[in-house]
């Protein structure tokens, strides 16, 4: 009997050591997940795709009913907006053409704004709520790589955390911390741009923390739009992140932090676009990434 008691204790001890080793390994700074994990992700992803179709069908019915109620109001607003946009389309076309001509004269063919979109569908969301992750139905086979930005029509939602052959995992903006920063900017006239970093998410105010690194004279105003700046070398420039809600200073009054309301809805994500930055990721960008 004593032997069995000792055996039990022994097993629990070994289990504990394995636990610590596994956690240590998975939190270490690794580029992508290991082969076995990719195989598991592919297999589960395959099953999730099957399950997701009927579930989506049912939830769609409910959202459709909700949508019908607001249709009339929405239609009125959209009609108004549409008339505004008609004018803008012409303007944008002109500017684009001019931009292209100017670029051609300067021999600039690649820009940090250019990217190739990869369409993907969300097939599951992590049930563990501290870990803000969703799974997409496209993987390395479709050209998705780690650290690519993920956007919806409204704005940025996150970045690719890891990939397997046919699935990939996205870390949502709401789960960002100081290790997952985005170089961001608020566009102003005459090079007065306000630069900074998105450095995490504040649960209490439900907003992203935008740390301003280059102090500019002008005060930030509420409602100003924050975009990715493309200077981190990972994400392309010009992806909408959100709008400024409030500006607070830190306890010493040295740096200011803007609370930014994310532009995209983090809870109802169905279709996303994975952004493959065109500009080659060469060595100079690598070093930039480290600075980030």
């Amino acid at each position: 009997m004593q032997f069995f008691q000792r055996k039990k204790l022994f097993i629990i001890l070994i289990g504990f050591i394995v636990l610590v080793a596994l956690i240590g390994y998975s939190l270490s700074d690794r580029e992508n997940i290991t082969g076995p994990e990719q195989v598991v992700n592919d297999t589960v992803g395959w099953a999730q795709r099957i399950i997701h179709a009927p579930v989506n069908f049912i939830t769609d019915i409910f959202t459709n009913i909700d949508d019908f109620r607001n249709t009339y109001q929405e239609n009125q607003i959209l009609k108004e907006k549409l008339s505004q946009y008609k004018g803008m389309i012409y303007e944008v076309q002109e500017i684009k053409e001019e931009n292209k001509e100017l670029r051609d004269t300067l021999d600039l063919t690649e820009s940090i704004r250019d990217y190739t979109p990869i369409q993907a569908t969300v097939i599951s969301r992590s049930p563990e709520r501290w870990v803000e992750q969703i799974t997409l139905n496209k993987g390395s086979k479709d050209g998705i790589d780690t650290n690519m930005a993920v956007i919806t029509a409204e704005g940025m939602v996150g970045k690719i955390l890891n990939t397997s052959k046919t699935t990939s995992t996205v870390k949502l903006l709401t789960g960002f911390d100081q290790y997952n920063r985005i170089s961001a900017t608020i566009s102003r006239k005459k090079g007065d741009d306000i630069n900074g970093m998105i450095e995490g998410f504040d649960e209490e105010s439900n907003s992203l923390l935008f740390k301003i690194i280059e102090e500019s004279d002008q005060e930030l105003k509420e409602g100003e739009q924050v975009f990715s700046s493309g200077k981190g070398g990972v994400f392309p420039a010009g992806l909408q992140i959100g709008e400024v809600k409030e500006v607070v200073s830190d306890q010493y009054g040295l740096t200011r932090t803007a609370l930014v309301k994310p532009a995209a809805d983090m809870y109802e994500i169905n279709q996303v676009i994975v952004v493959d930055r065109n500009l080659a990721k060469d060595e100079s960008n690598e070093s930039e990434e480290e600075d980030e």
């Binding site: 596994l22 956690i23 598991v40 589960v44 049930p127 709520r129 501290w130 799974t135």
Partner: protein, 179 residues
């Protein structure tokens, strides 16, 4: 062939947990409450109480396998769910010797199981630095709603599986008690 049924059901629950947040009404999800579906664990509690004999540990083994699966697919931090599930199921397996398998005992053990698993996971995540939520917030915003909703799930599952698992246990386990 029949032996494959249990792993298949557990696998189905793992997959369903991934779409659970879409199935729940959205005002529950968007609000402050964090509801974590521990459906795999609830089913493992059933296994431990009704399926396993005193000297078989299939529920613990499945806890290890499917806990690891959840770690790999949904969190990326390996070992946390695996260890918590297996450990708690092992204790429940030990406790059932003293108690008779009926709905009340299942409810009590299910309550204890889900609560202790969630606390254990929260504890490990706090140690690792994955979460910094104060414990008071954790108890009101996460633990309470999680336990209640998982118990509802347990009550729904009870009439479907309680008798069936006892029968399957008898069929599968009499021939070899190797594990």
């Amino acid at each position: 062939m029949k032996r494959l049924l249990l792993p298949l059901i557990l696998f189905l629950f793992v997959v369903l947990e991934g779409v659970a947040l879409e199935l729940l009404p959205s005002n529950l999800v968007v609000g402050n409450l964090l509801i974590i579906p521990h459906w795999v664990l609830v089913f493992l509690v059933f296994l431990a109480i009704f399926y396993d004999y005193e000297n078989t540990y299939y529920a613990v083994l499945y806890g290890l396998i499917f806990g690891l699966l959840i770690d790999v697919v949904y969190t990326g931090v390996l070992g946390v769910y695996m260890f918590s599930y297996a450990f708690v199921i092992y204790i429940i397996h030990g406790l059932k010797r003293m108690l008779h398998g009926n709905i009340y005992v299942t409810l009590i053990l299910g309550f204890a199981g889900v609560a202790s698993v969630d606390i254990l996971i929260e504890f490990i995540y706090t140690m690792v630095g994955l979460t910094e939520a104060p414990w008071i917030d954790y108890f009101t915003h996460r633990l309470l709603p999680t336990v209640i909703l998982n118990l509802v799930f347990l009550v729904i599952l009870y009439p479907i599986f309680a008798k069936r698992l006892t029968r399957w246990g008898g069929e599968h386990l009499t021939k070899n008690n190797a594990l």
